[in-house]
C-alpha cells in the first residue's frame, strides 16, 4: 500500500480509453463498477471533445456480484455492438473487475459477434496509464494489421498520438506538413483518427514514424518484425532533434532534406536579448520522451544549465538515465510528487519545466515554470495551433519557456533600478499579475538599526548585518543562489560569520 494524493498517471484502462477515444469505428466494452465513468469527463472536459468516449461500462453494483456480472458483461457487449455498429471492439476489465475474475475476452468470444473482438489484459495493480495505451494499441495492431502491398510512392505511418495526449493534435499536423515537404505522404496516422480498417492497411507504408514511444513503441517493434517496417528513433522535438529526425527520414526514404521554412527559434536564441538566458539553472521533469527532448533544447539550443532531469514513467527510465548522464546528472525516476518537490527545493532552479504538478510546486516556491508534458489541465489543450514537434514546435517552445522568465530588458531594468520604488524586489516582474507596492521604508530602517548578527543559516554559519544588507541588494531572482553559494563557500572554509568580504569572495569563486 502506498499513500497517494496526486498521481501522474491514471490506471491502465484509462490508457485503453485514450486509444479507443482517439480512434473512430472502434468500441470499448469495459467491465467496471458504477462510478468508473468519471474517466469520461477527462475527455469531454479537459480535452473538450464534443462526443462521448466510445466506451460502454457494465457498471455493476454490489447486488450484481456473483454469477450475474458475467451476464451483465455479455448484455453490455451485445447492446454496444447493436447500438454503435463498430468495425471492431476491444474488451477488458477495470481494477475491480480484474478482482472478480470474469473473463471479458472469453465472454465476448462466446457472443460470436461478426467483427473482431480484441481482449485486453491490463494489470491494474502493477501498471499504469501509459502502459495501458501502449499495450492496447499493440493488441489492436497485432490483431488487425496484415501484410499488404506497399504504396508506389514513399509513404509512412504516424504512430502514437492518442486522445488526451499533450499537443498530439498539432504535432500530427506539423509532422504531416514536414514530411509532405519531403514528398512523403502519411499512409495512416494511428491511433488518432484511425479506424480499424485503417489499422489493417498500416503495412502499405514504407516506414513508421514513432512519435511517442510511451504509447506506441511496442506496436512499432511489432510492425518492424511482422511487416518489415523500420521506425524512426529520433523524436522531433526541438530544432536539433527535428534536423536529426529529417536526416533519419531522408536515409529511410532515400529522399533529399527539405528546406527549413518558418524556423525562427535559432535566431531568437542567438539574438542579444537572449544573452541573459545563458546558464540559467533549469529543472526538467515529465514523461521520459518530453523530458529528454526538453533537456537537449535547454542545454544546446537555449543555453540553460540543466540542473535536474527526471521522469515519472518507469518504462522510460533507461533512456532518461542515459540522457541525464550526458549532463553530469543522476536522473530522478519517481512517481511521488513529494520527492520531486523536495528535489526542486534542494536545487533552487531558476526555471522549472514539468507537468501540471510541477506548475503548482513552482507556484508554491515562487519559481517560474512552463509545462512540457502530460498530465496537463484544460489550458494546455489550447484552441490555437501549438505543436511541440518540428520547426513550428521549436518556435512555440521558445516562446513558452522564455515567457515566464523576466524578459531580458525587464531584467536589466530591475537590476539597474532596483533601488527605485517601482522596481524594488517585492514589486516583481510586470506580467506576473502582482500589483507593484511602493517600498516600505521601515523595513530598511529596521535592518540598518540591527547591529548584531541576525540570521542563522542552515549550518553553523551566521550572516553579519552588513553582509545581510548587501545580500538584499542582489536581485531577488538570483538571491537564493547567491545565499546558498556563499554559505557553502563559508562552510567549506570553516568561516562561521559571513561578512561582505565573504560574500564577494564567494561570488568571485563561483564566477563563470
Amino acid at each position: 500500500m502506498k499513500l497517494t494524493l496526486w498521481t501522474y498517471e491514471g490506471p491502465p484502462h484509462v490508457g485503453a480509453m485514450r486509444v479507443a477515444t482517439a480512434m473512430k469505428g472502434l468500441h470499448y466494452v469495459l467491465h467496471a463498477p458504477q462510478g468508473d465513468t468519471y474517466a469520461d469527463l477527462l475527455f469531454t472536459m479537459i480535452e473538450r471533445r464534443n462526443h462521448r468516449p466510445p466506451v460502454t461500462y457494465t457498471t455493476f453494483q454490489a447486488r450484481d456480484l456473483g454469477a450475474d456480472t458475467a451476464n451483465l458483461f455479455k448484455d453490455a457487449a451485445r447492446d454496444a455492438f447493436q447500438r454503435f455498429a463498430p468495425q471492431a471492439m476491444i474488451v477488458g476489465a477495470s481494477c475491480t473487475a480484474e478482482l472478480i475474475q470474469d473473463d471479458p475476452g472469453g465472454l465476448a468470444e462466446a457472443l460470436a459477434l461478426p467483427v473482431p473482438v480484441i481482449p485486453l489484459e491490463l494489470p491494474s495493480y502493477s501498471r499504469k496509464e501509459n502502459f495501458g495505451a501502449d499495450e492496447t494499441f499493440f493488441q489492436i495492431v497485432k490483431a488487425l494489421a496484415r501484410p499488404v502491398e506497399r504504396t508506389e510512392a514513399v509513404t509512412c505511418n504516424l504512430l502514437g498520438p492518442t486522445a488526451l495526449g499533450f499537443r498530439h493534435r498539432d504535432d500530427v499536423a506539423e509532422l504531416t506538413k514536414l514530411l509532405g515537404s519531403m514528398g512523403i505522404a502519411v499512409n495512416v496516422c494511428a491511433p488518432l483518427d484511425a479506424t480499424p480498417a485503417d489499422i489493417a492497411r498500416l503495412g502499405a507504408a514504407h516506414f513508421n514514424v514513432l512519435m511517442y514511444p510511451e504509447t506506441a513503441e511496442t506496436a512499432a517493434r511489432h510492425l518492424e518484425k511482422a511487416l518489415n517496417q523500420p521506425f524512426t528513433r529520433v523524436v522531433p522535438i526541438g530544432t536539433h532533434a527535428t534536423r536529426d529526425f529529417l536526416a533519419e527520414v531522408a536515409q529511410l526514404s532515400g529522399l533529399p532534406l527539405p528546406p527549413e521554412t518558418g524556423l525562427r527559434q535559432p535566431w531568437y536564441a542567438a539574438s542579444v536579448d537572449s544573452t541573459y538566458l545563458t546558464g540559467k539553472r533549469v529543472f526538467i521533469f515529465g514523461d521520459g520522451t518530453h523530458a529528454i527532448a526538453a533537456a537537449q533544447i535547454a542545454a544546446k539550443e537555449i543555453g540553460f544549465e540543466v540542473v535536474g532531469l527526471g521522469a515519472y514513467n518507469r518504462e522510460q527510465a533507461r533512456p532518461v538515465r542515459a540522457a541525464a548522464k550526458t549532463y553530469g546528472l543522476e536522473a530522478l525516476i519517481t512517481d511521488d510528487y513529494l520527492e520531486v518537490e523536495a528535489e526542486i527545493a534542494r536545487l533552487q532552479p531558476e526555471l522549472i519545466l514539468g507537468t501540471q504538478m510541477e506548475r503548482h510546486i513552482a507556484k508554491r516556491l515562487g519559481i517560474p515554470c512552463a509545462v512540457i508534458s502530460a498530465p496537463v489541465h484544460v489550458q494546455d489543450f489550447p484552441a490555437r495551433y501549438s505543436p511541440q514537434m518540428g520547426f513550428e514546435g521549436a518556435n512555440v517552445i521558445f516562446d513558452t519557456w522564455v515567457h515566464p522568465l523576466v524578459m531580458g530588458l525587464e531584467e536589466h531594468l530591475l537590476t539597474m533600478f532596483r533601488e527605485d520604488f517601482e522596481f524594488h524586489d517585492a514589486a516583481g516582474p510586470s506580467h506576473h499579475g502582482a500589483k507593484a507596492v511602493a517600498r516600505e521604508a521601515e523595513a530598511e530602517v529596521e535592518i540598518l538599526e540591527r547591529e548584531a548578527p541576525v540570521e542563522a543559516a542552515s549550518g553553523e554559519v551566521i550572516w553579519l548585518a552588513d553582509a545581510e544588507r548587501e545580500l538584499k541588494k542582489i536581485p531577488f531572482f538570483v538571491r537564493g543562489k547567491a545565499k546558498r553559494n556563499t554559505e557553502k563557500f563559508a562552510v567549506e572554509r570553516g568561516v562561521t560569520a559571513i561578512s561582505i568580504d565573504t560574500l564577494y569572495e564567494a561570488k568571485a569563486h563561483y564566477a563563470r
Binding site: 500500500m1 497517494t4 469531454t44
Partner: protein, 425 residues
C-alpha cells in the same frame, strides 16, 4: 407562488425504474466537500489507482492545497494475502497520523477493490481506534461505486458517525447534511430568531463539537440523500421532521414552518422572522426567473437533489419539467416534495444512459441537467446543459441563495442567447 399543494401532484406518478449503464460518480466524490466541512478529519480511501485518479479528477485544483484526504493504493502484493494488507494499512495510518498531528477523526473509506477483496475496514477501524485513542477517533464507511452513488457517500459517512454520538435527553434540533459555512450560519440565525432550542449540526465543523442525540432530539434534513443517516438517527430514538427541502423561498419557508411546528412555536412568530428575507428572496427570484419561465427542463440522475430542484424550478421559476431522473428515490423522505411537484414529468429512478439519451434527444428540452461526461457532447448536439455537480458545491440552500440557485439554471440559457440568438429562441 403558492404554498398550496397542486390539485394533481406527482405523489402517485409511477416511477420508471431502469438498470443499465450508469453515468454517475461513486460515493468517494463526497469526500471532496465533506473534508472541507469537517476541519479536523482526514479521509483515507483504501482503493486502487483508479480511486486516486477519480479523486484527482473530482477535486480539480483543490488537490494542490494540502487537502485532508488521500488514497492508500492497493498494490499487487496487498492482494496476495489479507494479513499483509492489514499490516500495511496500520503502517500507512501511523505514518499519516504522525505527519498530520492536527487530525482528530480518521475515516477509512472503503472502495470497490477493498470491498471485493473483503478487506474488513470495520475491524481495521476498531484496531486503529484502540491504537490511536483518545487523540484520534477512527471510523469507517463505504464510498464504493458498488454500494453508493455520488452524494450517498456523505450519507454513508454521516450514518457511520451516528452510533458514536453522545446521548442526551434534552429537547433540541439536529440539522443533518453538510452545508457551506455561510449558509449554515444563515440557517442558525433564522432558527435562533424563531426560538428553536438547542440547534446542532451534523456534521459539525470540528470533532469536539459533535452533537448529542436522544429520544427528545428532533431531526431535520437539509439534503435529500440522507436515507441511511436518517434511519440511524431514528434508531437512536430521534424524531424525524418531515418537510420539503429548503430550496427557494417556498422550500425554505415550508422547512422552517415544519421545524417550528415540531417545537410548538406559533406560526405568527415564524412569519415575523421570515417576512423580510422571504420577500427579499422572492424579489430576487422574480427577476432571475424571467429567463426560465416556460422553458422545459430534463434532469439526468446524479445527486438525489433532482426532485426538490425540479419542484423549485417548476413552482417558483415557471419551468416545465419533462423528465426528472434520480439515482435513488427514498419514498419517505421525498413524499413532501412529490406532493408539491405538479403532475406531468416522467419520474425515473436508476439509469440506462443510452435509453435516457434517446429520450432526451426525442424531447429536445430547453435545458438538460447532467454530469460533465454528458454535458459537452449534448451541447454539441445543440442542447443547452447545466452541469449538475456544481449544485452540490455551490451555496444554494435557504433564502439568500434562492436567486443564485435560479441563476445557475438561467446562465446557460442566457449564454446561448448571447452567442447564438437564432438557435436559443
Amino acid at each position: 407562488m403558492s404554498l398550496d399543494t397542486p390539485i394533481r401532484s406527482c405523489r402517485d406518478t409511477p416511477v420508471l425504474k431502469e438498470r443499465g449503464q450508469r453515468e454517475v460518480f461513486c460515493g468517494l466524490t463526497g469526500i471532496v466537500w465533506l473534508h472541507r466541512k469537517m476541519q479536523d478529519a482526514f479521509f483515507l480511501v483504501v482503493g486502487s489507482r483508479t480511486c486516486a485518479h477519480l479523486l484527482q479528477a473530482a477535486a480539480g485544483v483543490m488537490i494542490f492545497a494540502e487537502p485532508r484526504f488521500g488514497t492508500a493504493i492497493l498494490e499487487e502484493r496487498d492482494l496476495a494475502g489479507l494479513a499483509d494488507a492489514n499490516a500495511e494499512l496500520d503502517r500507512e495510518v501511523a505514518r499519516l497520523l504522525s505527519r498530520r498531528p492536527e487530525i482528530r477523526q480518521l475515516f477509512l473509506v472503503g472502495s470497490c477493490p477493498s470491498e471485493v477483496i473483503k478487506l474488513d475496514l470495520a475491524r481495521a477501524a476498531e484496531r486503529l481506534n484502540a491504537a490511536h485513542a483518545p487523540h484520534v477517533r477512527v471510523l469507517n464507511y463505504s464510498g464504493s461505486g458498488i454500494e453508493t452513488t455520488f452524494t450517498e457517500g456523505e450519507d454513508a459517512c454521516l450514518a457511520a458517525m451516528v452510533p458514536g454520538l453522545p446521548s442526551t435527553l434534552d429537547a433540541g434540533l439536529l440539522v443533518v447534511g453538510a452545508l457551506p459555512d455561510v449558509v449554515e450560519d444563515q440557517m442558525l440565525g433564522l432558527l435562533t430568531a424563531i426560538g428553536v432550542p438547542n440547534v446542532r449540526c451534523l456534521p459539525a465543523r470540528r470533532s469536539a463539537d459533535l452533537p448529542a442525540v436522544g429520544p427528545n432530539t428532533r431531526v431535520a434534513l437539509v439534503q435529500p440523500f440522507l436515507g441511511a443517516t436518517h434511519a440511524a438517527l431514528v434508531k437512536r430514538g430521534a424524531q424525524h421532521i418531515s418537510a420539503p427541502f429548503p430550496f427557494g423561498a417556498e422550500g425554505t419557508t415550508l422547512w422552517l414552518h415544519a421545524v417550528a411546528a415540531a417545537f410548538g412555536i406559533p406560526r405568527e412568530r415564524v412569519e415575523a422572522v421570515i417576512a423580510a428575507p422571504r420577500a427579499r428572496a422572492e424579489r430576487a427570484l422574480a427577476s432571475v426567473s424571467e429567463t426560465l419561465r416556460g422553458k422545459r427542463i430534463f434532469f439526468f440522475p446524479d445527486s438525489q437533489l433532482e426532485i426538490p430542484l425540479a419542484r423549485f424550478l417548476v413552482r417558483e421559476c415557471g419551468m416545465v419539467a419533462v423528465e426528472v431522473g434520480t439515482p435513488y428515490l427514498h419514498r419517505e423522505l421525498m413524499e413532501p416534495e412529490l406532493d408539491l411537484l405538479p403532475e406531468g414529468p416522467v419520474l425515473s429512478e436508476g439509469q440506462d444512459v443510452e435509453r435516457q439519451l434517446d429520450r432526451v434527444r426525442a424531447a429536445r428540452p430547453n435545458l438538460t441537467v447532467c454530469g460533465l461526461g454528458l454535458a459537452n457532447p449534448l451541447e454539441a448536439e445543440g442542447l443547452a446543459t447545466k452541469w449538475a455537480i456544481e449544485l452540490v458545491f455551490t451555496p444554494v440552500h435557504f433564502y439568500e441563495q434562492a436567486a443564485d440557485l435560479a441563476g445557475l439554471f438561467a446562465r446557460p440559457l442566457r449564454r446561448r442567447a448571447l452567442l447564438a440568438p437564432e438557435v436559443a429562441a
